[in-house]
């Protein structure tokens, strides 16, 4: 029993980054209140792992099904630590992070540039829109085998797939953002003496940014799927590769370790995006938090 307790606190630590994502939004109260609040927030996570641990331990005794299928969190921590000693976890994390970072950055940059051009040149918009209606309903994962045939199994098709997955939602949302700039803002700027160029840089771009960020958030979820799947098909590194490799040798614990790492990595990227959004959209007020104040 003692053993379980100590391992539990370890898994609790591992889950911390995912936890922060949810607690960060909460307002700070007084010292005691905030610690109480923290504890309240942590309870569901702790409970989740406790139940999992107890269930796996129980299954280990009565053999409801093969205990290998559902390893206990304590075992995951143990095996995960061993795996980390070999350096494979760091390598995988690094490989996956590089791919998602470059793919996401390239896709988003190209999308924003194209959106800018499309809003400047209506010709381009007229020709691009039908093209977008054609390709945007196609889930990008469907293109993966094609990309592999075209570009082989190196880094390029993976980064390209992620970039493409990012590209479409960011482009569509940013274009929409440019279109929905209130006309009175543009008119005001013109009457204050702004040139066309200044209207673009000082009015159009800032008012399209909220939409751009919405596009980026949608993209992030999709491009993580693209990352994992492309690593499962023809790769020799990355978190997705870790999962197929573990399957080939029937190492279920390693699969769970990889899955948890994916969850953590996604949470980190989402947190980064959220922080960026808070910084850029500091001027925004409202939302449910502002709409009604809770009775104490």
């Amino acid at each position: 029993m003692n053993e379980i307790q100590t391992t539990l606190s370890k898994t609790g630590e591992a889950a911390a980054p995912a936890l922060q994502l949810n607690t960060v939004r909460k307002r700070k109260g007084t010292g005691l209140q905030s610690t109480m609040g923290m504890i309240k927030n942590v309870i569901p996570y702790v409970l989740f792992f406790v139940v999992w641990e107890l269930f796996s331990q129980l299954n280990g005794r009565i053999q409801m099904f093969n205990p290998l299928f559902l390893p206990a969190p304590s075992l995951l921590v143990h095996d995960g630590w061993e795996l980390a000693q070999t350096g494979i976890i760091t390598d995988s994390l690094l490989a996956s992070s590089m791919r998602i970072f470059f793919g996401f950055a390239c896709g988003a940059t190209v999308a924003v540039l194209l959106a800018v051009l499309m809003s400047k040149f209506s010709m381009l918009e007229r020709w691009m829109s039908p093209f977008l209606t054609l390709v945007s309903p196609i889930p990008s994962l469907a293109l993966l085998p094609l990309f592999i045939i075209w570009f082989g199994i190196g880094e390029f098709p993976k980064v390209l797939l992620i970039a493409w997955t990012t590209f479409v939602p960011v482009l569509v949302n940013t274009v929409e953002g440019f279109k929905s700039v209130p006309s009175t803002l543009i008119r005001s700027a013109l009457s204050l003496g702004a040139s066309q160029r200044q209207v673009f840089t000082r009015i159009m771009i800032p008012s399209a940014i909220p939409n751009l960020l919405i596009g980026a958030q949608i993209s992030l979820g999709l491009s993580f799927s693209a990352l994992i799947v492309s690593e499962m098909m023809g790769a020799d590194s990355g978190l997705g590769y870790l999962i197929v490799d573990a399957r080939n040798y029937f190492k279920v614990t390693n699969m769970f370790v990889a899955i948890i790492l994916i969850g953590i990595e996604y949470s980190l990227f989402a947190l980064l995006l959220k922080l960026l959004e808070r910084k850029v959209l500091a001027w925004r007020r409202g939302g449910i938090g502002e709409a009604v104040e809770k009775v104490r």
Binding site: P182, T184, L185, R187, S188, A189, L190, S191, L192, G193, A194, S195, Q198, R202, I203, P206, S207, I209, W283, R284, R285, G286
Partner: protein, 247 residues
């Protein structure tokens, strides 16, 4: 400054919105355009601002035809149209800045105009944090900071509650008496027009029906001699043959 609207006609598609509109505005005048909603007041104001162009006739300022929006014609909208991502101070500094004034100096100017509308303490706030009346004051300060020859206002107090509206009217009148900017003010409120304006241009169905010289001593109130009488005359004009339309 002299603004001349000459034989102006404007169509939207098949519909004629304005026709044969003539109007002359002299330096330092405070003019109200009054009419039912949908009679074409905003259309006329947007043409003066240079956002849209007349199909026939001409609008000239200082003898020159209006070619598009310009900083000599400042605009205040009903929805205040403040840039939500800029602080109050940045909003007011926007005009001087895009016209090439160094940032620091533009902010100094902005602070001065914020002081003029009594909001110097709110420079660092975002528009979303202000009340409706305060937003509209910022809108006015922003338009004035570009030193326009004429200030165009499209029902600027239309969305405010009645008490704030009264206060804003007094405030605008005070600003006008201090700065003597020429003002072209659109409203559908008879009392607002009679309270504010030197002349009230009453529009009906896309034409100028009549122009009233108000000539009541400032500061005006409902009890000023001639105020109620003037309101009644304008109301009669606005209401006559309306009933026929309804029947």
């Amino acid at each position: 400054m002299k603004l001349i609207v000459e034989k102006v006609r404007k169509n939207f598609g098949e519909r004629t919105i304005l026709q044969d509109v003539d109007l002359t505005i002299h330096e330092n005048e405070f003019i109200c355009i009054l009419g039912h909603s949908g009679c074409g007041k905003s259309t006329l104001l947007n043409m003066v601002a240079g956002y849209i162009f007349p199909d026939e006739g001409e609008i000239k300022i200082n003898g020159e035809k209006i070619q598009g929006p310009s900083r000599q014609r400042g605009m205040v909208f009903q929805d205040h149209a403040l840039f939500p991502w800029c602080t109050v101070l940045e909003n007011v500094a926007f005009g001087p800045e895009v016209q090439g004034m160094p940032k620091k100096q533009a902010r100094e100017t902005a602070r001065e105009f914020l002081g003029l509308v009594g909001l110097e303490a709110y420079g660092a706030h975002y528009p979303a944090e202000l009340s409706g009346g305060m937003k509209q004051r910022v809108g006015i300060a922003r338009a004035l900071a570009s030193h326009p020859d004429i200030l165009l206002m499209d029902e600027p107090f239309g969305a405010l509650d009645i008490l704030t509206r009264d206060m804003m009217q007094r405030e605008l009148r005070r600003l006008y008496e201090k700065l003597h900017t020429t003002i072209l003010f659109v409203t559908h409120s008879i009392s607002e027009a009679v309270y504010l304006a030197d002349r009230v241009v009453v529009m009906k169905h896309g034409v100028v029906a009549e122009v009233f010289e108000i000539g009541i001593q400032h500061p005006r109130s409902f009890d000023s001699p001639g105020f109620a009488d003037m309101m009644a005359r304008i109301e009669r004009l606005l209401m006559e043959d309306e009933e026929e339309v309804i029947v």
